[in-house]
């Protein structure tokens, strides 16, 4: 048995009010500790609210910001994932998730996929992260952090698992939409997320921890429904949709070993083959190699031939 109690802080951040949200994080970290949790997870931009627009620069923190380090200091004998706007030394703004452990900022993940379509406009206000790394944790297993849209790209979960993560943590500010009665859980967004989280857990034979916010920013209503999925792809816990709360979930990390021995998918991955084919595709897209699927006569880097 490797028991771990996870606290899902399904909060409704106050938009642009860093001080109020910081205070709430301190309270909930203390409450999680008192409840025996080893890992507490807050949602994407839980320290700032989501729909910041030009407020992003005003609530941004550098990694050495005393407000962040004081939050880290509150994590003795505890792991916490928090999310905020990070300003780099050269003044780029990132949507960041940080793993705070034993009083320190252990690891920072900068959101790598910024949705800028439909109702999203993230690329206008933020820079995209350029690294995806799992990190060893005081929990005894590797942890992989991802932020919301990062999970809508298959490579994220695969890279984190191959890099040693046994717990994939996704922090989200997912706005609910599509109320068609035909959806299983009454909300199209929730159905989509549930499907992909189960799939990722199963294919990476890892725990998936999903913390999604609730509350309202302007037109957008965030649906919560935070979850923990086991390494078989079966849900361990699902928080209610739309309700604020701190939800405690007990898992056994030994489930990862059992699943990976029985179903050695990660053992059988072919990273060298994947990397080779990616290199080929990248070269084709850049016009540096011949594209086998392009129409005959296409110019380099294009896939449709133009009559001249």
């Amino acid at each position: 048995m490797q028991p771990l109690r996870i606290a899902l802080a399904q909060v409704a951040p106050r938009l642009g009010d860093l001080d109020a949200n910081l205070a709430r994080h301190h309270e909930l970290i203390a409450e999680s500790r008192a409840g025996g949790a080893g890992l507490v997870v807050f949602p994407e931009l839980g320290l700032t609210g989501y729909l910041l627009q030009d407020l992003a620069a005003e609530v941004a923190m550098r990694l050495d910001d005393p407000r962040l380090t004081s939050l880290a200091a509150a994590t003795r004998d505890l792991s916490a994932v928090v999310s905020f706007v990070e300003e780099s030394g050269d003044h780029r703004l990132f949507i960041a998730a940080a793993l705070l452990e034993d009083g320190e900022v252990r690891h920072v993940h900068r959101k790598i996929h910024l949705p800028t379509y439909g109702l999203f406009d993230e690329r206008r206000f933020f820079a995209a992260g350029g690294m995806i790394r799992a990190v060893p944790s005081r929990l005894g297993v590797g942890v992989g952090l991802a932020v919301c849209e990062d999970f809508w790209h298959l490579s994220t979960a695969q890279l984190l698992a191959m890099d040693g993560a046994q717990i994939l943590v996704n922090v989200s500010s997912s706005p609910g939409r599509d109320l068609a009665r035909t959806h299983e859980v009454g909300l199209g967004t929730a159905g989509s997320w549930r499907g992909l989280m189960r799939t990722y857990a199963q294919l990476t034979t890892s725990f998936v921890v999903f913390c999604n916010r609730v509350g309202v920013d302007e037109s957008l209503s965030f649906w919560g429904g935070s979850e923990v999925i086991g390494p078989t792809g079966a849900p361990v816990f699902g928080a209610p949709m739309f309700d604020e709360g701190l939800f405690m979930v007990d898992i056994d990390l030994a489930d990862v070993r059992r699943e990976r021995i029985g179903l050695p998918l990660l053992r059988d991955e072919r990273p060298e083959l994947v990397a080779r084919e990616w290199r080929r595709l990248i070269a084709e897209r850049a016009g540096l190699a011949e594209d086998a699927t392009a129409a005959p006569g296409s110019a380099p880097g294009f896939d449709v031939a133009v009559d001249r």
Partner: protein, 291 residues
């Protein structure tokens, strides 16, 4: 009680939860605890009254009835029934004097001059809608509540609204629901059946109804808009679904022609930072709530 096309059917429980939290969120962010709306006796404003009452309690809601002298007495009866059923505050403000004061009455010109006496019904209807808006925003001050919008998605898309009239509000809980969905949600939340059943009308003159005036039924129009807009189907694709091409093209023109009604007016870009262009803030942020 009404026709609900399959593809438009929504989960009304989820809708009520989302809308309830939306209403509470909007009021909280603005620093208000109360709401006010214009109650016509029609289904849209009735539904919003029920949604607001469910979200914040009927004691925090003021419904203002704003009839003109030609408004249907039955509509006012329906509005009174809604107020009684909810147990919210209700108020009657006749707009006849204000409207006739401008257009004139009984051969006597009003402040609008002699020409205004000949104003067509549409022009008068728009004036009435803006008069109601002016009253609601005044009551918003005395009631200390935000004005809640009651326009639905169908009428917004086809432009069946008055700019700065019925479309004016602090926030709108049902602006993303088609008329058919308004009916579905109204039935779920308990809007009186008489209100749900009656033919939708702008009530600008006796016997006027939206559907006879526009020449299509709401379920048909809602389906068409859903496929064209929400599901991004081309004109040819919706014709293949069975819609008549002439109707599709006419509705397309209505939607395009009403684009301006759905947006904030453009400001000439002159300075370094311009509201709505490159000065982009959430409507409410720390420090912006009413004291």
């Amino acid at each position: 009680m009404f026709i609900l096309p399959d593809e438009l059917a929504i989960d009304t429980d989820v809708a009520r939860r989302v809308i309830g939290a939306f209403i509470r969120g909007q009021l909280k962010q603005a620093g208000f605890g109360r709401a006010v709306l214009g109650l016509s006796g029609g289904i849209d404003s009735a539904l919003v009254a029920y949604l607001v009452a469910e979200a914040i309690g009927a004691d925090r809601l003021l419904c203002v009835m704003l009839p003109y002298r030609t408004s249907s007495p039955a509509s006012q009866g329906d509005a009174e029934a809604v107020i009684a059923d909810l147990g919210c505050a209700g108020e009657l403000v006749e707009i006849t004097g204000m409207v006739d004061g401008y257009f004139g009455r009984d051969g006597v010109p009003g402040e609008g001059g002699g020409e205004a006496r000949e104003a067509a019904p549409l022009r008068r209807g728009n004036f009435m809608a803006r008069t109601r808006m002016a009253v609601l925003y005044d009551r918003s001050v005395t009631w200390r509540g935000l004005v809640v919008g009651t326009g639905n998605k169908t009428e917004s898309l086809i432009g069946y609204t008055t700019l700065f009239g019925d479309s004016a509000c602090a926030f709108n809980p049902i602006g993303d629901l088609y008329k058919s969905q308004v009916r579905q949600l109204s039935a779920a939340i308990g809007v009186p059946e008489a209100v749900i059943r009656k033919a939708p009308s702008a009530d600008l003159w006796p016997g006027q109804t939206d559907e006879t005036e526009a020449g299509f039924s709401y379920p048909e129009l809602d389906r068409l808009l859903f496929w064209r807009i929400d599901k991004r189907r081309s004109i040819d694709e919706v014709v293949a679904l069975g819609f008549e091409r002439a109707l599709v093209e006419r509705v397309d023109r209505m939607v395009a022609g009403a684009e301006f009604k759905r947006q904030v007016p453009p400001i000439a870009k002159l300075g370094p930072r311009t509201a709505g262009v490159d000065y982009l803030y959430p409507r409410r942020r720390p420090g912006s709530a009413a004291r």
